[in-house]
Symmetry: C2
Subunit: 337 residues, 2 copies
């Protein structure tokens, strides 16, 4: 690997996403990407006896499906890089506990899929071309009761709020000729412009997304229009508007090729999700199903995946703190062998 520019790192032998899988819950299965997911569950308990266990099960299924597609077993895997939104990341630890794979826990709030993907790729290039996995998840019910109110309370959600996606995405990183490859990445810095409203995380995260995208474009001396698509996750409607404002005031043209995973997964008109989807499982499930399928079909050949996270907790919000946000970016390309 080598550093280019200030913050971007380019792989010498870009690792491949040799397989991936996205699994989601009932509401996501009724959205626009319904047919793209590898598995949809019609009940948010997924046969488990708590929402937390259901979320762990989503991670387990995502990893299992990705392994089956790659014709691999857990014993072929060097490390799993996993994270989620639950306190102490229990969706990850309990989700992959039985697989007996060395485990690296990651935390980047909703940006965790990009962070895990980056680190799994670093290990794959640097450690004897090993095979590593990145996986993250979220669950509307487990997140809602942990971050906001008991579900039974039926708290009213303000229009700027986002709907936590019930879903998980897993990607297996190794080497093969035909799969999309991780070409470069930019690790995010925390950006905190003083937003304190935990119901408006899109606004808190947009400046972080802008900062990371801008750094990457400068470091690589490329522009927005050089990419087939630039996916952020999960700014939602409010955050996306703000991202456009910030980028255009910095003189960066957004040329119709930007999409936000939080806006892709739900139909905002019909599904009552206010500003859009969010959560570790949102960008993960959209990337690991829809986006990577489009890359494999050759509809997209060079994309940026920039997942955003709000590094707050209910305690920091109660203590009046603002929301430090972060965005990690991955450049994925179909490279000729």
């Amino acid at each position: 690997m080598k550093k280019i520019g200030n913050r971007t790192v380019q792989f010498d032998r870009p690792p491949s996403i040799i397989s991936s899988a996205g699994v989601v819950g009932p509401k996501e299965s009724e959205g626009p990407l319904s047919r793209e997911f590898d598995r949809v569950f019609s009940d948010s308990m997924i046969g488990q006896d708590s929402w937390e266990k259901a979320e762990s099960y989503l991670q387990k299924r995502a990893v299992e499906l990705a392994l089956v597609k790659a014709r691999l077993n857990p014993k072929d895997i060097n490390c799993v890089f996993a994270g989620d939104l639950l306190n102490q990341c229990i969706a990850s630890s309990f989700g992959v506990r039985e697989m007996n794979i060395p485990f690296v826990g990651m935390y980047g709030a909703c940006s965790t899929m990009a962070l895990s993907l980056i680190n799994a790729s670093v290990y794959t290039e640097c450690i004897d071309k090993t095979i590593n996995i990145a996986v993250t998840s979220s669950h509307f019910c487990s997140a809602e009761r942990q971050y906001r109110y008991p579900l039974e309370y039926g708290g009213v959600r303000p229009p700027t709020s986002q709907w936590t996606v019930t879903g998980s995405g897993a990607a297996i990183i190794g080497y093969d000729e035909k799969s999309p490859k991780i070409k470069a990445f930019t690790i995010g810095k925390m950006v905190d412009l003083g937003v304190t409203d935990a119901n408006n995380m899109g606004a808190a995260m947009a400046p972080a997304a802008a900062d990371t995208i801008k750094s990457f474009l400068e470091d690589t001396n490329t522009k927005f229009s050089d990419y087939d698509a630039i996916f952020t996750g999960d700014l939602g409607f409010v955050g996306t508007e703000l991202l456009y404002k910030i980028l255009s005031s910095d003189g960066i043209m957004i040329s119709g090729n930007h999409k936000d995973c939080g806006l892709m997964i739900f139909d905002r008109e019909k599904q009552d999700v206010h500003s859009g989807g969010s959560g570790c499982g949102c960008s993960a499930s959209v990337l690991c199903s829809h986006i990577l399928k489009r890359m494999r079909r050759g509809e997209l050949n060079n994309i940026l995946f920039c997942a955003t996270g709000a590094l707050l907790s209910p305690t920091s919000t109660q203590q009046g703190e603002s929301i430090p946000s972060i965005a990690h970016l991955v450049n994925i390309q179909n490279l000729l062998p």
Copy 2:
């Protein structure tokens, strides 16, 4: 880097711990390692208006002191790898927020210092010899009220319980000739033998420590007595006893060179800490002050640092789950240039 044996990875150009700093609170400053720490605070609020903010401040101070020792500025740093025990790892995000360094959040419960050290070292070797930081923290008061009871309640602690250390340790990883070097590491697998008592984490974690140490010794074809010292963190008294039982039943001789950070930091006779110290800040502060000072003085030249973590949450405990545990190991050596 190359993989040796099943799970151990050896660096080609072992990165150096070019500086480190350990900072602690009042109780730790009264323990046996009192004079070893870089900074001790006589009040657990450390001039902040909440324990959570005090913990963030500990991380900030540890990083700042390590930077000063290395004569570096935040802008010289490629990435900071940070973690803690608080929900959503807020001690880390708020602790290093203002430094404007690319941020990688890690979670491994009390094993996080070893995990962060490993990943900072991987980046240093693989990305153009960049300089990276590993830092973790814990705070008795913020942990106690989050994991157990409000402090004011004065809940009685069972004899197997451990005392969360108020402290932080930071290590700067780069290249220099004279500093101790990270030679190899083993990432832990989750081990869960069904312990469900969240007041007996030593017992839950000991099998994970045994598993990782055994794997490392097998992979490197070395034995316990080949090392000047083997430090675990933080098994405490109960977990250490159990570790010895498991290792000796596996035919591994423990030759008086084992120490547990949880037993080193407090005087169990005088300080009423039951089974010993614990927390992300325990092994971090002991490593980054006492242990690395002994290495720099040449009193120790080849050690293993094996930090252990219990991957539970109050929610998983309330739902009747057992405790998946993990231990990550780092081999640190004084190598001749």
